[in-house]
């Protein structure tokens, strides 16, 4: 299953990165959001470090939404989804492939966004880079897992781009909040153990919802 998933993911990613439009627009968007946040605050009144966690996470969330919106659109054009379903590949592989592709996409945007954020806001992330990347990975996995499942459903509906965020929002709020709280703990220089509760919730969320998505995905594509 893993092999099929990986091939599927590669196919998606190759299409994405060859065309480059999606990744480019996501990065540009990230820069835009960061700039807006910067000019939106009064630097004398609010320290960058206080706002930092929220800024980082709102930015990443938008990037994830951009990625997820397009997740199944590739298949939608050319009816490729039917072809995919007919192939001797298990449904789970399809989901896993999509998940991996989406994760790589979002991770790329985050990988570019984080240094930019550190630069624009003059926040020192290098000392806490390890744990920070860990938090980012946990939260991202959570909402991309749910988002990939939901985008399989919204892809064929009329107002897909509008519907997906609406459906996804309640499921992104808890992990987002935990990630912001954990990030805030880190950036404030406090030990990681203080964010332990939030990290455990993130991990539990990931386990539950990745498993759930795997189990439920076939229901979204079976005829």
């Amino acid at each position: 299953m893993l092999r099929h998933a990986w091939r599927l993911a590669r196919k998606d990613l190759l299409v994405e990165f060859r065309s480059r439009t999606a990744i480019l627009s996501a990065v540009v968007f990230t820069v835009l959001v960061l700039m807006v946040f910067n000019f939106g605050r009064d630097p004398t009144a609010v320290a960058a470090v206080d706002l930092a966690p929220s800024i980082v996470w709102v930015t990443f969330t938008f990037a994830a939404m951009l990625a997820l919106n397009r997740a199944f659109q590739l298949e939608l054009e050319n009816q490729a989804l039917d072809g995919l379903l007919l192939a001797p590949v298990s449904r789970s592989s399809i989901y896993l492939g999509k998940l991996i592709a989406n994760l790589v996409f979002v991770a790329t945007v985050e990988g570019i966004g984080l240094p930019l954020f550190a630069l624009f806001f003059n926040v020192r992330v290098v000392p806490v880079l390890g744990p920070l990347v860990g938090i980012i990975a946990l939260a991202t996995l959570g909402f991309v897992a749910v988002g990939t499942l939901f985008s399989a459903m919204t892809a064929r509906t009329r107002f897909a781009e509008l519907l997906l965020p609406v459906l996804l929002l309640p499921f992104m709020i808890p992990p987002l909040i935990w990630a912001v709280l954990a990030t805030a703990t880190l950036l404030a220089g406090r030990p990681l153990s203080e964010a332990g509760g939030w990290l455990r919730l993130l991990a539990a969320f990931d386990i539950v919802f990745v498993a759930l998505a795997f189990v439920l995905f076939p229901a979204t594509v079976n005829e």
Partner: protein, 222 residues
């Protein structure tokens, strides 16, 4: 149709009992010392909140069974529960701020009940929007079931979060809009109100279910 008639009768009974709840809460239950009359909002707010959350469990469980059994009755029941969940959720989200304003000083607080109810409300809306956006009935039922199950699974996480947040940021106990130990009279009023709200929930869901059935019978799908 019998189911519809039953639902209507149950609803009527519930609505007829509602004034009794009101009278009991307003005139025959003691006024709480620190919150004044506003505390009495509790008797409507809490039963509504209980049913808003319970409706999500019903949606989730019905959805799980639907995916296994493929019985359209389960799908209809889930749909009905979600819609009624929105109604009760609206009660929580309106009475909550009205209660909060004099007590906390602000219209909105991120307390456990309001936060959870807001998320539930958003999920119900999403659930109904998804149903509205899918034209094929078989697909619609399956998609809704997937969303319903995910929604139900999110609820424990919200509870955990709130609990964790509370242990880190203890709230002032004095004016908490939920008394842990109620005097007998208040408990009785709350119980009475809960029963009436239950009757209303059952009546609403029954009618809404009947409505789905009627619609399908009027325009049968292939």
């Amino acid at each position: 149709m019998r189911l519809l008639q039953t639902g209507r009768w149950i609803t009527v009974i519930g609505l007829a009992l509602l004034p009794a709840v009101y009278v009991r809460a307003i005139s025959f239950t003691p006024v709480e010392r620190m919150q004044g009359a506003a505390q009495k909002i509790f008797y409507l707010h809490v039963p509504a909140a209980i049913w808003t959350e319970s409706a999500m469990v019903l949606v989730g469980v019905a959805s799980i069974f639907f995916l296994f059994l493929k019985d359209p009755r389960l799908d209809r029941f889930a749909e009905a529960s979600a819609e009624v969940g929105i109604v009760f959720g609206s009660i929580v989200l309106t009475t909550g701020p009205i209660w909060g304003k004099p007590i906390w000083g602000t219209w909105w607080t991120w307390d456990a009940r309001l936060t959870l109810t807001l998320l539930l409300f958003l999920m119900y809306v999403g659930y109904l929007l998804l149903r509205g956006a899918v034209t094929d009935p078989g697909l619609r039922a399956r998609y809704a079931a997937v969303l319903g199950i995910c929604g139900m699974c999110l609820v424990p996480f919200v509870h955990l979060s709130v609990y964790m947040f509370r242990t880190l940021h203890p709230q002032p106990i004095v004016l908490k809009p939920s008394a842990p130990s109620l005097p007998g009279s208040m408990l009785a009023t709350l119980a009475f109100s809960f029963v009436v709200f239950t009757v209303l929930f059952v009546g609403f869901v029954t009618q809404r279910y009947a409505l789905s059935l009627l619609r399908e019978q009027a325009a049968p799908h292939a």
